[in-house]
Amino acid sequence: MSVKEENIPENEGRRDFLKQGTLFTALALTPVSLLKAADQKADEKFAELFEKVSLRIKVNGKAHELFVEPRVTLLDLLREQLALTGTKKGCDHGQCGACTVHIDGTRVNSCLQLAVMNEGKEITTIEGLANEDVLHPMQAAFIKHDGFQCGYCTPGQIMSAVACVREGHAGSKGEIREYMSGNICRCGAYPNIVDAIEEVHKSGVQV
């Protein structure tokens, strides 16, 4: 689309322009049946064609075919559109780690990802870590060592912790602390979290 900013009348949002402008061009290409509803709803639908893009993404093993606005973050997609609220929002700026998920096995702050960047990728969230009601060893270790209080940072800590062990960064308490420092816990459960990770690493179980 070659809509130039300067063509947009003053005080009119881009969408206002779309509402008026795109109709003309879109009309020619649109089936008559759709046009019958020449009300606001139809207008919305036309606009959607320009404002949303398709996205195929796998989350916790389940394939989704979605139509999303490009500005939607992966975090907001999970929480607000897929009802996967286990992944938390603590800052929305990549500064706290509460939103940590695995993308193709790598830990990532999902608030720093636009959802559309993940076409064809596989996302694992905290909901996908346990096998039904059988806890992942890291989840069990967090309970055993009381690695949380309010629990809000916990999904992010656990996703990060699993990756930390997989990456081979859980060799010592010092190393764990360093490689877990992107995950803030305001309740201050740090020593317990480190104990949990160390135990899982030392146990040698496949995570």
Partner: protein
């Protein structure tokens, strides 16, 4: 082997499974069909009047349902009566007038059908203002300090004022604590859904579902029963969720306006302006002692800030009145109104602010006397509360000093500062005392024993993380002997029997007593039913219910403290020990070892209690070394309003933390003999760090946080 009635070291958190699987639902995670999204538009000026709000572009933006402001909001019944500040607790009435009192104060809320559309449309709203001169600089405005109206904050005098000035040994010092921000990990907000014109359900982030219910009911003039507040899981609070914030009312107003559920989740930077903070504080302490180290006078003066539109006060100088044996004590506390959002209690609240000053000063005095800081405190130990002239209900501090000193290796400390080295690092040891009122309030609980062998307990308590449910099921287990796994404690629902807010370290004592009383009543009821139906009085409750053909038996009762509260002074105590390493070239301070000792009666839930102490130490370390909310006085805005610039401790900052409990039941406070520990976990900690830094370097840092520039200055 596990002794059923005593040690339960291995009792895990009852909500652990939900928390590690992501199933625990926090307020913003409830799914209500048709939910819309609210985004606040902040004022860009710090003081003045709104002259106009241009919302045309926002209203025309896609998906926008409304732009709500003082210009078009629906009637709020509680706004229309009373004086200018008529809402409960003198809370600022949001979207009420054109008045702006602080930067970031919401002038409007955009509601749209998706979050992204609301965020975008909010950028299109333009406010115009008539600016007025504002004041945000605490130190510049000290002269405008006023005495708080709250009589509990009145000046205090015992014996002679400023007696320290006549003492053989004197110290006089000033201490400064910057503004700090709670910053729980979960962002604040609310999900508001009007079920009908006069009935509302909200999912809230609150430390008190009953308090939130009350505030909403009186703001909108609704019967209490028409306001349902749900708050099962709260992602941390540390005090900031002890009140209903205007932003919550804004979402409820907006939900009324659009006639749809509205979800509001504020941003991290708004957490700095709209959801409270620990106020900036300036304190002067004068201590006088005779040559043997007996205190002869304590003078403690404190100033903290408040907002221009609401008064906030806290107990900054209280510890100086009763902690040590001194015949002469005088204290004052004043507040300085500034153009900032109003502060709110932050963990340990004023007591933590005051303890930094008093416990630093105690260390300074011990140094002047050339005494060991513990020996100096023991010298001035008191078995009787000198403020109220009555005994403490229990106090085992001498024992606690010993326990902590041994664990930290106090014997390795050299009383002469700057003499202990580890390679290039200077090593220092410091300690401090913390104390907080141990109270027992009034609470109700319901208990239902069921024929399937389970017990369900309900109370409108809240839990921000300490493990309320875990403590309650252990209390019930002790009374009834039912396995912990068969007991459920439900909270965070305003329709449950009344309980106070989770604040002031009182939940376990208050709600726990109600649970204990309810369980004892159930026990008596079952025994009575047993004998009446020809069973032995000690028959199992399942058998008694079956024999009587009953699916369940239920008791609801209220519980509160009695005369003992007038006879004894009840306090929880803590001692914090730290070892620090200071790099003399870079000024970096590393806390290398922490030992926290809790003297808070019997420990009901050892695992969660330990975590609470650990968490307090982590918070205290942030207060001591990194946390400071910085204001740009040119604009009246906080400049480090995010996690990259406001430094809370991360994994790499935290060493091994050892927690020790005296674990002796308090004979008077409540049936469990347990006292609270949420606040003492943090109170005093920052002084222990400052004292250790002095011991390592000979440098006394009296302004927090202790950053490298201050060490090198």
């Amino acid at each position: 082997m596990r002794d059923k009635s005593l040690l339960k070291e291995d009792t895990d958190r009852v909500d652990g499974f939900d928390k590690v699987t992501g199933r625990a639902k926090y307020f913003a995670e409830y799914q209500i069909p048709g939910t819309t999204y609210g985004v606040l538009v902040p004022s860009t000026i710090t003081k003045g009047k709104i002259t106009g709000i241009d919302s045309k572009a926002a209203e025309r933006a896609p998906g926008v349902l409304a732009v709500v402001s003082h210009l078009n909001r629906p009637v709020v019944a509680g706004y229309e009566t009373g004086k200018d500040q008529g809402v409960p607790n003198n809370m600022m009435k949001i979207f009420y007038t054109d008045q702006i009192s602080f930067n970031g104060q919401p002038i409007a809320m955009v509601v749209a059908d998706t979050y992204e559309r609301a965020v975008y449309a909010a950028t299109l709203v333009k406010g115009t203002y008539a600016k007025e001169a504002f004041e945000t600089d605490f130190e510049k405005n000290l002269s405008k300090a006023k005495a708080p109206k709250n009589p509990a904050q009145a000046s205090y005098l015992r014996g002679t004022a400023d007696a320290y000035k006549n003492a053989a040994v004197q110290i006089e010092a000033s201490y400064t604590l910057p503004t700090e921000t709670h910053n729980p990990m979960e962002l604040h907000g609310i999900l508001a859904n009007w079920e009908s014109a006069d009935k509302i359900t909200v999912y809230a982030k609150t430390q008190g579902v009953k308090a939130t219910q009350g505030t909403i009911a009186s703001t909108f003039k609704l019967p209490l029963t028409n306001v349902q507040v749900n708050s099962e899981f709260v992602g941390g609070g540390f005090g900031m969720a002890l009140r209903t914030w205007p932003l919550e009312i804004a979402a409820i107003i907006a939900a009324k306006q659009v006639n749809k559920p509205v979800k509001l989740v504020i941003t991290r930077d708004q957490m700095f302006t709209l959801a409270g903070h620990r106020p900036y504080a300036f304190q002067k302490v004068g201590l006088g002692a005779d040559k043997d180290g007996q205190l002869t006078g304590i003078t403690h003066e404190a100033w903290g800030h408040t907002a221009t539109y609401e008064d906030f006060t806290e107990n900054v100088v209280s510890m100086s009145k009763f902690m040590y044996n001194s015949a002469n004590v005088n204290t004052t506390y004043k507040i300085v109104p500034l153009n900032v959002g109003v502060p709110i209690w932050m963990r340990g609240p004023g007591e933590a602010t005051g303890a930094f000053a008093l416990e630093s000063a105690m260390d300074e005095m011990a140094h002047s006397l050339d005494m060991d800081p513990i020996a100096f405190r023991v010298k001035n130990y008191t078995e009787e509360d000198p403020e109220k002239s009555r005994p403490y209900s229990s106090k085992n501090l001498k024992e606690a000093y010993k326990m902590g000193a041994e664990k930290i290796g106090w014997s390795k400390r050299n009383n002469k500062p700057g003499t202990n080295k580890d390679g290039n690092w200077l090593v220092g040891y410091g300690m401090s005392t913390g104390v907080f009122n141990a109270s027992r309030g009034r609470a109700s609980a319901k208990g239902i024993l069921k024929s399937d062998g389970t017990l369900l307990l309900q109370s409108a308590a809240s839990d921000i993380g300490p493990g309320t449910g875990t403590g309650m099921v252990q209390i019930a287990h002790e009374v009834l002997g039912i396995p912990v796994s068969k007991i459920t404690f439900e909270l965070g629902d305003s329709s449950f029997p009344t309980a106070p807010s989770q604040g002031g370290s009182a939940t376990l004592s208050t709600v726990g007593s109600a649970v204990s009383d309810v369980c004892n009543a159930l026990k008596a009821k079952i025994a009575e039913m047993a004998t009446q139906s020809g069973l032995s009085a000690s028959a199992k409750f399942v058998d008694v219910l079956k024999k009587n053909n009953l699916p369940s038996v239920e008791v609801t009762m209220e519980s509160k403290g009695g005369e003992e509260q007038k006879k004894y002074s009840m306090y929880s105590f803590s001692i914090h020990f730290v070892q620090v390493k200071v790099n003399p070239l870079t000024g970096v301070v590393k806390v290398s070892k922490i030992v926290s000792v809790g003297d808070s009666g019997r420990i009901v839930s050892p695992k969660t209690a330990r975590s609470q102490m650990v968490g307090g130490a982590v918070g205290g370390l942030g207060m001591a070394l990194t946390e400071e909310t910085v204001m740009d006085h040119r604009f009246g805005r906080y400049v480090n309003n995010n996690f990259a610039d406001y430094h809370v401790p991360v994994h790499a900052d935290i060493p091994e933390i050892e927690v020790v409990f005296v674990n002796k039941p308090d004979p008077y406070i409540n049936p469990m003999g347990a006292k609270g520990m949420g606040e003492i976990a943090l109170i005093g900690f920052s002084a222990a760090v400052a004292n250790a830094v002095f011991n390592a370097t000979g440098k006394r840092i009296r302004t927090l946080p202790i950053t490298p520039d201050k060490i090198l200055a």
